[in-house]
Symmetry: C2
Subunit: 312 residues, 2 copies
């Protein structure tokens, strides 16, 4: 039984991680400022003797005694991280520095959730961990992409300089229950639109590709990485790649929706393709996604259906 | 007559900029923590009514009333910025954020001195400002390269979000009097070695290329950029490119030295070639280097000769 800190634990991925760690019998402390997360996501644990929720912004330092830190706190969807770009960089750099400094002080193992966005609009396909990326340092996504790159740099600077025991995962697009239905990500947008027979909004020609993993697979990978001795960055994602247009058609079919697909202008600096090379995760963690896309999407549709019905 | 803040004004480039601004009759305030700079570089201004020197670390916020901020503070040579990588990132991110926040509060125009290192080991040659770069986010140079990329990101975030009036220059290798003779950069190393008939240390095979500008050309470009209305990043460098081996031979010849050229192991992630495309500076600022390499190197040799003689 360990004392485990999850920053951003009230968010989409964080709350699923908390569920698993609680079920495993650990003591879990969540730090969150509720910018994009919500208390609802972890309401079911409030009052449990092993669970502590602290409303706190990681840009301010904090000292708590823990054995492990899963550092997730950071808005993850483009509209959320572009709402206040300065704050996004501060969360990534000052916030990550505060958490690394905490890890150093209490000698905790530290895991950073980085992102496939550090590869930018990749010129190498699929992306291996050794790829250095193709990121616009002054574009509209830079506060997130460069913020995460700097967070990785800081993480390894603390490893070398302060002997902090670090892990870094680069997460590729992930979906599942508890995605924020208003945060503008494609799976939630399409499902909400399809469920309400509204137009499904394709940005650009829809030929850009992504690879989506179900959140339970990701949580598995996070826990495996924390337990493992390998310290360099590891991609966590589902390598099955498809176009945004295919995703729209598929969801429309699963839902039996009447929605029309409409094409809107492309988003600036939107990566044209993205697919993880996960051979490192297979080799080092013996990890790979277990859920089929269909199963994941159906469970997610069910989740959003409840929301739509509750709204009526 | 303006009140002008120069952060890092006790350093190599900063002190030359201070000289020019003082001669133009401005009030100049230098902020420096003397990590790589030295009081000697600006000693000749101490006591002048237009000159103020403040020993201050930019990682701590400060409030002073100024019209313009030239933000140079940051160690620039690899041994200096790798001495304390965490501090280098803090200087670049927290320090730059503090200076941008100052610019916002006092409504000053702000100029960031970024670097050609944000292009990393470039796959496009020569480098235009539109090139996104090829940087290893977790390599030994990352604290500087990613730190500067994040500083650029922050600068444009303050422009968009807080309406700060910003300028960004990307400086390519620069040399001249007042380079720190111990900081390990190639021009100072080779000149000091040649003057003392010591072995001249070539890292790797010496076929890597650079393009060196004389510091007075750079200072000209900095002042032109600050005066100009163009706000996107501008390369400032000398496009004449040559190999490190050629530089060694040339300096040996100028000095009439007996030194031998010795090859040492290559440095990790050392860019193989670097040359600025300066057509944007020509177009927007009507700027290009005025000094020949020979003139610049001869003046620099003279400067280091005094130092060697003083040491004897
Ligand atoms: N979901 C994905 O597809 C995906 C992909 C790549 C990387 N990631 C990374 O995984 C992590 C979690 O992502 P998510 O999808 O759960 O996002 P999310 O927005 O749902 O969760 C982030 C959580 O962090 C909290 N937070 C944000 N800023 C904070 C601050 N300054 N102080 C304290 N708490 C703060 C938010 O309130 C929220 O609860 C993020 O670091 C994200 O960058 C996610
Ligand atoms: N010289 C070059 O070839 C070159 C090339 C590209 C970019 N640049 C950039 O130009 C700027 C000046 O470079 P330089 O060659 O004069 O370097 P330098 O090291 O001689 O000068 C930097 C100055 O900043 C000061 N400083 C560093 N950290 C500080 C902090 N936290 N608070 C206050 N002062 C601090 C140092 O004491 C020093 O006086 C730097 O931003 C550098 O990144 C230089
Ligand atoms: O990227 C962001 C943007 C905002 N916030 C936080 O969300 C809250 C609301 O932010 P907003 O900018 O709307 O308001 P303010 O900072 O003015 O309270 C504040 O606690 C912010 O610090 C955040 O954590 N990350
Ligand atoms: O309503 C939407 C939302 C997103 N997208 C596209 O779907 C892809 C994935 O977007 P998301 O924001 O989910 O993730 P990210 O851009 O971070 O990969 C991108 O190409 C978006 O332009 C879309 O076509 N319609
Ligand atoms: O990249 C660096 C490294 C150090 N310093 C400063 O230089 C001084 C000496 O640094 P060192 O790490 O040697 O000592 P300490 O911080 O322990 O005093 C301190 O004021 C540091 O903040 C700096 O400005 N930039
Ligand atoms: O004594 C030295 C110092 C540097 N270099 C090489 O000269 C080039 C320029 O190095 P410097 O540190 O001056 O600048 P930067 O690497 O930042 O361009 C690099 O390829 C170095 O490996 C060298 O061969 N001998």
């Amino acid at each position: 039984k360990k004392r485990i800190l999850v920053t951003g634990g009230a968010g989409f991925v964080g709350s699923h991680l908390v569920d698993r760690l609680m079920l495993m019998g650990h003591e879990v402390i969540v730090i969150d400022n509720f910018f994009t997360g919500s208390k609802t996501n972890i309401l079911h644990w409030i009052g449990h003797p092993n669970f502590t929720l602290m409303e706190h912004d990681i840009v301010t330092p904090i000292l708590i005694q823990v054995d492990e830190i899963y550092h997730l706190a950071c808005p993850a969807s483009p509209p959320a991280y572009q709402f206040n770009p300065i704050k996004t960089i501060e969360t990534n750099v000052i916030g990550t520095s505060n958490m690394l400094s905490l890890a150093k002080q209490v000698k905790a193992r530290f895991l950073l959730t980085s992102t496939s966005e550090i590869y930018g609009d990749p010129l190498e396909h699929p992306q291996k961990e050794t790829y250095w990326g193709n990121v616009n340092p002054i574009g509209p996504r830079a506060c997130y992409d460069e913020g995460k790159r700097a967070a990785e740099t800081l993480t390894y600077a603390y490893q070398t300089q302060e002997k902090v025991d670090v892990r870094v995962v680069r997460i590729f697009n992930t979906f599942g229950p508890r995605m924020d239905e208003n945060d503008g990500r494609v799976v939630s947008n399409f499902i909400m639109q399809a469920l309400q027979n509204q137009d499904m909004t394709i940005y650009g020609d829809g030929n850009q590709t992504r690879s989506f993993q179900f959140v339970h697979d990701l949580v598995d990978g996070l826990i495996s990485t924390m337990r493992n001795e390998f310290t360099l960055p590891i991609n966590l994602g589902n390598p099955v790649e498809f176009t945004i247009l295919e995703l729209a058609e598929e969801l429309k079919g699963f839902i039996g929706s009447e929605s029309k697909l409409v094409k809107l202008p492309a988003v600036q600096d939107d990566p044209k393709q993205r697919r993880p090379d996960i051979s490192l995760a297979k080799e080092k963690l013996d990890w790979e996604p277990k859920f089929s896309r269909q199963q994941g999407l159906l469970e997610t549709i069910q989740y959003f259906r409840q929301i739509v019905e509750a709204d009526c």
